[in-house]
Symmetry: C2
Subunit: 318 residues, 2 copies
């Protein structure tokens, strides 16, 4: 029993997941790994997953559960093709191979649970209005392509019994606390977070854009739930579209107006960015997420709930 590992444990979701696991299951040792950690956050092991030997060394520690959240974000993977593939695919190959060798060395008794954070960017439009669970993955971004490739690898290593696990196709996580990041989806959080903090926020796309959201708190819930479920229920299909809230940017803004008032909502300023708009144009709008709901995964019911979650989790202690 060597406990749990969070790859990408220094990131926003990684830190929240770590806090949740420590609060709910304090007896299980927890190791965080990332290229850097926030100054006031929970500390961990510093390392670059794309460097040779790092994943093999981690595999040797035989963690019971590995949450794999380490990733270059979508905008950066698109801008730096080589870095994207080197960070978002090759470490997964190395990790799975390392775990397979440990499985074999253990005489088949070691079979860790690997929970991989995939993304709805695995899909590429044009789409049906609501995407069913058996809809084709055909990514139109390097980030999405890297996520599919990892899902496929995880599924085959799991099918062979070397590991157990599943891939979670997260909705766009919103409202992210902190600063904007290089993800193309960053503005979806920015247009809520900045106005709530009294600052102007740029809106790079038309307000008719519709998308699929869940809060950071819901994301932590997905990961914790994934660690508990019996994967034999997945019937060999180990990638899940997760539940979320579908709404347009106009509906996001209206929810902000209702929760925080017109003065706050008026801080959103249209500032069209054709590059972001082009990338977002082929992103999905809504999912049935039937399988995941049946398996007990839960998200918010409305975008107003998502805003309230942000206020409760991020603004109340300030």
């Amino acid at each position: 029993m060597t406990g749990s590992l969070i790859l990408g444990g220094g990131g926003m979701i990684g830190q929240k997941l770590a806090a949740h696991l420590q609060a709910t299951d304090p007896d299980t040792p927890l190791t965080l790994h990332d290229i850097a950690f926030p100054p006031k956050g929970m500390p961990g092991v510093t390392g670059d997953v794309s460097q040779p030997g790092i994943m093999q060394a981690l595999a040797k520690k035989r963690f019971d559960t590995i949450y794999h959240l380490a990733s270059v974000v979508s905008g950066e993977a698109e801008a730096d093709f080589t870095k994207g593939w080197q960070t978002n695919l090759h470490p997964m190959l190395a990790l799975l191979e390392g775990l397979r060798l440990e499985h074999t060395a253990s005489g088949g008794t070691y079979r860790p649970k690997v929970i991989f954070t995939s993304s709805i960017a695995v899909f590429g439009g044009p789409f049906p209005e609501v995407i069913p669970d058996d809809y084709a993955t055909s990514p139109q971004s390097s980030y999405g392509a890297q996520k599919v490739a990892c899902e496929i690898l995880l599924q085959d290593y799991a099918r062979k019994g070397f590991i157990d696990g599943l891939s979670l196709r997260l909705p766009t996580i919103c409202v992210r606390p902190g600063k904007p990041n290089l993800a193309a989806s960053s503005f979806f959080s920015g247009i809520i977070r900045e106005p709530l903090n009294g600052q102007e926020a740029a809106l790079p796309v038309p307000d008719t854009v519709r998308h699929w959201f869940a809060s950071p708190r819901a994301a932590v819930g997905f990961l914790a739930h994934a660690a508990r479920i019996d994967t034999s229920q997945l019937n060999g299909h180990r990638a899940l579209n997760l539940p979320g809230v579908t709404c347009t940017v106009a509906e996001q803004i209206e929810a902000l107006r209702q929760v925080a008032g017109a003065k706050v909502a008026d801080l959103i300023v249209p500032k069209p960015d054709p590059d972001v708009a082009a990338l977002i144009a082929r992103w999905p709008e809504a999912f049935t997420a039937t399988r995941a709901k049946t398996l007990g995964f839960r998200a918010e019911d409305s975008f107003a709930d998502i805003i309230q979650t942000y206020i409760a989790d991020e603004m109340s202690s300030e």
Copy 2:
């Protein structure tokens, strides 16, 4: 203009494609590459695509068109996990990286067409009766997983403009000439070929099994057609489900009876093999193949046609 390269040029389809290209386009230089070549067949360069440096060296030759047929077959990829991934994924990574470097070195003018032979094994059941073009890939074999991973890589390198190309999800090719191979699907050809040659053939699955077929001649037609089409018509979705014939094993046997008589069909002997049956049970039965048909890809109309093609192409000169 350095012509065309066939990776896997020593294989059954590779040899037929080479003969077709030489007959229809004799002025384009043609290079065949494979780990081995048939004694009386068309010769080529001998090499193992999974060895370091081989793909990089081939990329440096700047072929205009690369037909990538080199693969460990399904049964072997399932039996030898490491060999399967080393042969069916890693050479594709090396090839695409090599071609990207040539693209960059050429100042962006070199952009070869890469035609990759994928497979309907990218799908994993349970299925709808007829699989639509936007149906999810969720492979239940290592072979299928390796094919999806290559499709995803090809699509992303093509989306970025480093290469042009597409992936062809071939139906099960039937009737294969020659001897049985290690593909789990080998018996679908065996139960036609062996009886036509006066020999008994083992049937490892129930005759209610339904599957999706095209002849070797149709496969060569798919590849040659893929080299000609304008890929902008693919709208960024570069993997195609190809047309074929859907029929049950019972219908295969009935077609054989009609074409060659009861004495021939009676040479088929049921010999259940649970391993083969388990693998086949989650293979697809039929496809709409709407996109491919619209793009001009053509297969046979009936299984009797497929048998007649085998007799015409393989038995008339003997």
